[in-house]
Amino acid sequence: MDLNKFFSMVFEWLGYAGTFSDDLFQEELYTSIGLITAIVSLTLVITFYFIINRPSFSRWQHWLIMLLINFVIAFLVGLFIPQNIFYGLGIEYEIMQYVLFGLKTGIIATAFFIIWTYCFKWWKSHAKGTPKLFFGKF
């Protein structure tokens, strides 16, 4: 499947922003930002479970810290990468467009983070089982 098409569906599920979204699609920024978001989320999940991997940093609060770091990184990626590309192409948009896109990127990154969490939280780790997001059990 075309990654640009796939990621555009994901991002635009949170809202289609007209020409801004069209330009993102045109410049294949959905692919690059989508992949960066997915990989950074994966990296932070692996860091939490297998690299830091300490009983003193294994509770849901520590997982939340990693999730927030992930959100911030994704927000900054969503904020600055389109800005830099569009500026180079002479395309101008209001800063709010970029901020909103940054927030969408953060939300998507959070979703990735949770998906990766549920892929790896069962593996051998001192944070095994953390967090239990569904009814406090799962």
């Binding site: 009983p55 294994s58 051998k124 001192h126 089982g129």
Partner: protein, 506 residues
């Protein structure tokens, strides 16, 4: 599995068996099914009853976790004589406990026991030659108070009892016997040679028992190792301990070592630098645990590990009797390094692992449950608040662990001090030890004389309780689930503490 019958005679017998129980709980193995038989006329004796409660808790824990190979604690089986008789399909119920009840001595004086008043004049005079007025008026309910001449009469009933008959019936060719007694008391000094003589006769209740006659028998005779405070109202006077010891040794030289009736005889004693309260018996006779008792327990393990070839007996005579004494390096506060290598290696790993297990349960278990670490809930049955409310944890294990801590603190406080761990005993107003505490968060500095192994290349290496939890998590993941939560619990801690101690200390 072959059985090792341990006759614990008198207060010393009970205290040595208590120390042995602590060693077995920590994972020391004898390769025998241990059958303790406590012989003590003082049924209310504080030391005796503490030992019996301890043995019961041990049994309850062992039964729950038996058969689970991943667990090393409480591994050695301890049975009552009744358990053995039942396993062998015996019908009659022998006393279902660890203590042999001596008949006819409760509320009796010695003169009533021997029916003095019904004797004719000549026999009365003869008895008066052998026993003083004080002896004749002695209350047997609290023991023989350092009078083996009384003990030797009263204890004869043991060898004529149904219990002894059941013991003889249950005894098999590969079994062994060990007798624990003090040489300076009343019960032990009388009971040991009496018991040995009857065992070597091999005839009980009119039946011949060839296995019994040629059984492999070991014994430890504990020489004086404490004093008691001078008390004119008490019959117990520690000034007489050495004299009684010498008299008993003369007797042993003829009737024990002199006639090769024992395969392995161990001796132990110490300069008596500590003074106990002068209590003639009853619930208040509760002396602090002493290193001598622990070393005596180690002699039982040594005997159990001795190969059959060195314990041969023919026609009731030991072919190669051995006599052993115990020594340490010349210090008055012993750590593991002050023991000679053989002794040290037989206990250091097990006791250290159990110490850390005990410490974690005492100080960190509820914390770990609150934090919900993986070992608590992720790999099998959960160790949650329900688990710690169940009788296995709340009663048997917690009670046993408390007694272990008290025992460890008592041997620490006593003279000679056995202080392998840097603990602070806690005592109540009556100066009885109730627990211990530690005064450091650096838990790997607690094993005295054993330096902590540090990771010089990694300043972020896990340490102290974080490392402890880490090892428990790893153990939990490796073990997965177990046939029951209690087995899983003990398996996780057994493997976790083993890995921890290997990594940081030994």
């Amino acid at each position: 599995m072959a059985k090792l019958y341990i006759f614990g005679i008198g207060g010393t017998g009970a205290r040595v068996i208590k120390s042995l129980t602590m060693l077995l709980a920590s994972g020391v193995k004898t390769n025998f099914d241990i059958v303790p038989i406590l012989i003590d006329p003082d049924s209310a004796g504080g030391d005796l009853n503490r030992t019996i409660k301890l043995l019961r808790d041990y049994q309850n824990i062992h039964k729950t976790v038996d058969g689970y190979e991943q667990n090393n604690f409480f591994k050695n089986k301890i049975s009552t004589l009744s358990d053995i008789v039942t396993e062998q399909g015996g019908g009659a119920k022998v006393f279902d406990g660890f203590r042999f009840e001596l008949d006819g001595i409760q509320n009796d004086r010695f003169k009533d026991f021997i029916d003095f008043n019904s004797l004719d004049a000549n026999n009365k005079n003869l008895v008066k030659l052998l026993f003083s007025e004080k002896n004749l008026d002695a209350d047997l309910g609290v023991g023989f108070k350092g009078n083996p001449n009384i003990g030797s009469i009263v204890l004869n009933q043991f060898t004529k009892s149904e219990v002894f008959q059941s013991f003889a019936d249950s005894y098999e060719a590969d079994d062994r016997i060990f007798i624990v007694s003090s040489i300076f008391g009343g019960t032990g000094a009388a009971g040991f040679p009496l018991l040995l003589k009857n065992l070597r006769k091999g005839k009980v209740g009119g039946k011949n028992y060839e296995h019994l006659k040629n059984s492999r028998i070991g014994a430890i005779s504990v020489l004086p190792y404490f004093k008691v405070k001078q008390n004119d109202n008490s019959e117990i006077d520690s000034h007489g301990f050495i004299t009684k010891t010498k008299a008993a040794l003369h007797y042993y030289a003829r009737n024990i070592s002199g006639n090769n009736s024992i395969n392995s005889l161990y001796y132990i004693g110490d300069s008596a630098e500590n003074t106990y309260e002068n209590i003639e018996g009853g619930t208040n006779q509760k002396n602090d645990a002493h290193f001598i008792e622990l070393a005596s327990a180690i002699s039982i393990v040594d005997f159990a590990h001795t190969e059959d070839i060195y314990l041969e007996t023919k026609n009731g005579i030991a072919s190669n009797p051995t006599y052993k004494e115990f020594g340490t390096k010349a210090v008055r506060q012993l750590s593991f390094n002050d023991l000679f290598d053989g002794t040290k290696n037989s206990i250091i790993n097990n006791l250290t692992e159990y110490f850390y297990f005990n410490l974690f349960l005492k100080d960190k278990m509820t914390w770990a449950i609150d934090k919900n670490y993986p070992f608590v809930s992720e790999d099998g049955a959960k160790f949650d608040t329900n688990f710690i409310q169940q009788s296995f944890y709340k009663n048997f294990l917690s009670d046993f662990n408390k007694e272990f801590r008290i025992w460890l603190a008592e041997v620490f406080r006593n003279q000679i001090s056995f202080a392998p761990f840097a603990i602070n005993p806690i005592a109540n107003e009556q100066n009885e030890i109730t627990d211990f505490e530690i005064n450091t968060s650096n838990i790997f500095t607690l094993t005295r004389g054993i330096p902590e192994r540090k990771n010089k290349f990694n300043p972020f290496a896990k340490n102290n309780y974080e490392l402890f939890v880490s090892e428990l998590n790893v153990a939990s993941h490796k073990l997965g689930d177990a046939p029951n939560p209690q087995k899983r619990f003990m398996g996780v801690f057994s493997q976790g503490t083993k890995a921890l101690v290997n990594k940081k200390l030994l």
